[in-house]
């Protein structure tokens, strides 16, 4: 136990040091550090970047609007050809945000896939450290599934675990100090998609258990339930509340970090804030989303 705590502490310390170094290198808030590849060469430079809070918030919140106002070509951290393809497919208004979103989603997927392959290849009866971690997450969540849905529906565990790990990775990836990295969950489309998906699964499960008519009876029974239209609204409000909770928390964290950082000229406090919002709030919200998706199913099938 003590050893585990120590290694966790080491990880925090490492993150802290990395963030401090980033702050020092980017020296002051009107400079921006760029790391990446340009024309096939590795690139690390500190460029002039006049800081205007109002513009910066527009850039975070409505990135397409920002570049349209400025009338400049956006800095894209990726392949130019793909960006042009996006521009032609989604239209000029949504080109940058959709490009950014899908790039980040692909990175998250790639990380998860590589991690899965790595752990799968080294499955041992005396497990290695990452294997222990994942087994812990899996058993804990599987316990919740069995407790809520009963033993015969333990096969919902993979869905729940996938949901948790995906959302958690999405929330964490904003901590990685590489320019252009942002949480995919900061874009409303991702939480909304996940929320709609979760509610659809609730209804599919309910239909499976109670039959089509048995499930619809709750909604179109005029005698028993004269306010059935409001039931449909409350079904929609489930989607709204589950997805806006995730979106609002992650976006709120991003905006608060930005404003506070500019107030204190990017000295130390932002590091603590980004650890709080990234690790603490990110984990809590991933857990809450998963638990809600699970208990919606539980409530629907238990009646």
């Amino acid at each position: 136990m003590a050893k585990k705590k120590k290694s966790l502490l080491k990880l925090f310390l490492l993150l802290f040091i990395i963030e401090v170094i980033i702050v020092i290198i980017s020296s002051g808030y009107n400079k921006e550090l760029q790391i990446g590849f340009e024309k096939g060469k590795f690139l690390l430079r500190n460029i002039e970047h006049p800081f205007n809070l109002q513009e910066k918030i527009t850039e975070e919140f409505q990135i397409d609007e920002y570049y349209r106002q400025k009338g400049i070509e956006p800095t894209i951290y990726g392949s130019k050809e793909v960006y042009i393809f996006f521009k032609n497919t989604f239209g000029k208004e949504n080109a940058i945000s959709s490009f950014q979103l899908i790039r980040m989603l692909l990175i998250v997927d790639l990380i998860l896939l590589l991690m899965a392959l790595y752990i799968r290849r080294r499955l041992l009866s005396r497990p290695s450290k990452p294997q222990i971690l994942f087994e812990m997450i899996y058993t804990a969540l599987e316990e919740f599934v069995v407790e809520t849905l009963g033993k015969q529906r333990a096969n919902y565990a993979p869905y729940i675990v996938t949901l948790f790990i995906f959302i958690w990775t999405c929330n964490m990836i904003g901590l990685v100090p590489i320019p252009g990295f942002m949480e995919p969950t900061r874009n409303l489309n991702v939480p909304l998609g996940l929320g709609i998906f979760a509610v659809i699964i609730v209804h599919i499960t309910a239909i499976k258990v109670k039959g089509v008519w048995g499930h619809l009876k709750n909604y179109v029974n005029f005698v028993k339930n004269p306010l059935f239209l409001l039931d449909i609204v409350s079904e929609l409000s489930k989607v709204v509340s589950i997805s806006f909770r995730l979106f609002g928390n992650i976006l709120g964290g991003a905006i608060i970090i930005l404003v506070v950082s500019s107030l204190v000229s990017f000295v130390v406090i932002p590091v603590g804030l980004s650890l709080f919002f990234g690790i603490f709030i990110g984990t809590i919200q991933a857990f809450v989303f998963t638990m809600l998706a699970l208990t919606y199913i539980g409530v629907e099938i238990s009646e």
Binding site: L53, Q54, I57, T58, F61, Q62, F144, S237, V240, S241, F244, R245, G248, N249, L251, G252, G253, I255, I256, V259, V260, L263, F280, I281, I284, F287, V288, M291, L292, T295
Partner: protein
């Protein structure tokens, strides 16, 4: 309606006053609840006074988060570069609404966090061995209660920084409409966070209390707390959606 540049300054100073004035009300009450329960707890269990004192101080600091948010917003309103000449009625309404939003918005969360911290002190007096677990749970509960204050802060920052200037040559009707929509956004998220903040605080407080009585049931209690707090928060989220619609879609 003749617009004079001073209206923007009037709105920002008025907003700053409202913000920190209303916001400080329950911040004081919440911290007071914690201190009162802490004193009572030390009376009951003088041996554990160190743990109780520490919990009390940390709990008070966490309960004042929403009040500090209100302070930050009112500082921004006074010194954040809003002595501007452009923007017109839109800017004035947005500044006033930002103050209202954060001021009223910190009422509920502070009260809730205060109740949670008070119950934690009481609970540590009952079970001093579990003080670390109880304090951790208190902090998580207070953070959950502050999420609605974070929503209010986000809306007020958006009102401060992302409302466009009033375009030239639009009709008076349109000006009144947009200004009232911005004020409405402030009222919506401001009042909307009171209930959820206080409610989540009650959940967290009960969880802390029960953790002192039945320390073995910790995982189940924490899970119920998470779930209950998440569902209680949904009305704050509806308010957030309505505020976003009023700011960006009208």
């Amino acid at each position: 309606m003749v617009f004079s540049v001073e209206y923007i300054q009037i709105a920002s100073y008025l907003g700053a006053g409202i913000c920190v004035g209303i916001g400080a009300v329950t911040t004081g009450i919440g911290s007071g609840i914690i201190a009162g329960e802490g004193a009572l707890a030390i009376m009951k269990q003088p041996k554990a006074n160190e743990q109780i004192f520490r919990t009390m101080l940390i709990g008070q600091a966490a309960a004042q988060t929403a009040g500090i948010f209100a302070l930050v917003v009112s500082m921004l309103l006074m010194y954040g570069g809003f002595d501007v000449v452009e923007g017109g009625w839109f800017r004035a309404a947005a500044l006033l609404a930002a103050g209202i939003s954060m001021g009223i918005g910190s009422l509920g969360p502070s009260l809730g966090a205060g109740y949670s911290g008070g119950q934690a002190c009481k609970s540590i007096a009952r079970m001093p061995k579990e003080s670390n677990a109880i304090m951790g749970n208190m902090l998580i509960g207070q953070a959950l209660a502050q999420t609605s204050a974070i929503f209010a802060l986000v809306v007020s920052l958006l009102l401060l920084y992302s409302v466009p200037n009033q375009p030239a040559g639009i009709s008076i009707g349109r000006i009144i409409l947009k200004s009232m929509a911005l004020l409405g956004a402030g009222f919506s998220i401001g009042f909307g966070t009171i209930g959820p903040g206080a409610g989540i605080g009650f959940v967290a407080g009960k969880a802390n209390d029960m953790m002192g009585r039945f320390p073995k049931e910790k995982p189940k209690i924490m899970r119920t707390m998470f779930l209950g707090a998440a569902v209680s928060e949904s009305t704050a989220i509806y308010s957030l959606v309505v505020a976003f619609l009023l700011i960006f879609a009208v």
